[in-house]
Symmetry: C2
Subunit: 275 residues, 2 copies
């Protein structure tokens, strides 16, 4: 199976429409139809149910969509990592903006002190995007937070575990009370995080893309946030953090693709483990 065929299939499966998929791929619709037919012959299975209104995935098609996305990411990763190796670029570390800031700073300092340290390119992103970056080779290593981020398919090492706290504007009624419970904040307008496809769930609450944005909204009195304790690091005094005693603990882990074997990555992980 060629990656071209797989890319074509993924486009059609996602658009559920040959015309739109062809446009997205920059080709005409008829060759796309033919390519999918050829792919179906090759796989030996019908992948799409065609109707006059569009297409639907068969069971086999759904499997090929899921597995094919992973395969395309792996191919992209191979190309990107080879190119970056040639360019002499260092490691790309990805972390959620505003999360584990202190830990990240310590890690970067400690690693930079190593004799064999290479340049570390830090990339910040919103939640749920790190896994994708790690999978398609745009990043080499990530800081993830269990149980929020999926660590499936990566090698990981636990770094720290901490409780969560409620972050409130200084004047908020709950700010004066002692430690809170989940029930205390159940009625508050919690922010909405994007789903994996980039859209937001319906409902009240402001839309946020990362913790840094959220911090600003809290400071503006437009939202309250439930975040790991360490998010209080570097906070101005217009936001207060109140421990949330019955929230599940959050573990920060360092994660990397399972088959990675580079010296630089191994050093970074070793340094992280010693923090």
């Amino acid at each position: 199976m060629e990656t071209r065929e797989l890319r074509y299939f993924v486009a059609v499966a996602e658009e559920r429409h040959f015309g739109r998929a062809a446009e997205r791929l920059g080709i005409a619709q008829p060759p796309l139809s033919r390519a999918i037919q050829q792919l179906e012959r090759r796989v030996g299975a019908r992948l799409l149910d065609r109707t006059t209104r569009g297409v639907a995935l068969t069971e086999a098609g759904a499997v090929l969509l899921a597995e094919g996305r992973a395969a395309l990411d792996a191919v992209d990763a191979a190309e990107r990592r080879a190119r970056r190796t040639h360019d002499g670029a260092g490691l790309v570390l990805v972390s959620k903006a505003g999360a584990s800031e202190e830990l990240l700073a310590k890690l970067l300092d400690a690693y930079a002190a190593e004799a064999s340290a290479v340049e570390v390119d830090v990339q910040l992103c919103g939640p749920g995007q790190q896994e994708r970056l790690l999978r398609d080779g745009r990043a080499d290593v990530a800081l993830l937070h269990r149980p929020f981020d999926a660590t499936a398919g990566f090698d990981t090492e636990d770094l720290t575990t901490e409780g969560q706290a409620v972050f409130l504007p200084a004047g908020h009624p709950l700010a004066a009370r002692g430690p809170l419970r989940m029930a205390d904040v159940a009625q508050e307008p919690l922010p909405r995080w994007p789903l994996p496809d980039g859209s937001y769930p319906d409902g009240p609450g402001p839309r946020v893309r990362d913790t840094a944005q959220l911090r600003q909204l809290v400071s503006l009195g437009r939202a309250i946030a439930v975040l790991p304790e360490s998010a209080r690091h570097g906070l101005a005094d217009d936001v207060v953090a109140v421990p949330l005693v019955d929230a599940p603990p959050v573990t920060t882990v360092i994660a990397w693709p399972a088959h990675s074997r580079s010296r630089a990555l191994a050093d970074l992980v070793r340094v992280a483990g010693r923090l």
Copy 2:
């Protein structure tokens, strides 16, 4: 990057020789040379150092070889799993021959009793091959044994942990003594297991491919074996198992590709977790 290019590159990188790689690929050498040049232009990096005696990998080439193999496995997996879904085939479970036999039997029985059970195709193989089968889609789920098997990149769930024992022919001098220590068997001719590439390390000791073979050799008095305790299950009385008190414990885990989401697999894992 097309899978064809990647396959060509992996062949040349493995053979370290354009002529042999071309033969293996079933094409002539000149188009292979051109394809690699085109790949190097596309990646933007020299991947091979050509000499008049053959080729050597550059650093970028080594990265592309490692990542490319994983990517090709992922592409193969996508195709195989889609085909098997269409054919209505059930799950393929792979386990090492002779290992965890009782656990495997219980798992298969318990799963078969589920209302929504599908057919489970059991495939037995030698050590170190399960990961490959899981990665390239020839299997859906595996029983692995930590710390012997690499579980990196898979989702896993621990099933049982057990100690190891020495398996001896009934008349062996050590068979009469009580529990043994590692030092007691250090001088014995332990069997040689194949390396990941299929070859065997140099040295004394018989070559074995799986635990079932090994059991027969022990019974014939040609070898002694260090295996998890559960390997004593179903053993004839011409072989005795003596506990090895200071051997590292072995954990049997059930493992599956991280992105697998099939109902049948989820059921099987759930059943395994309840054993």
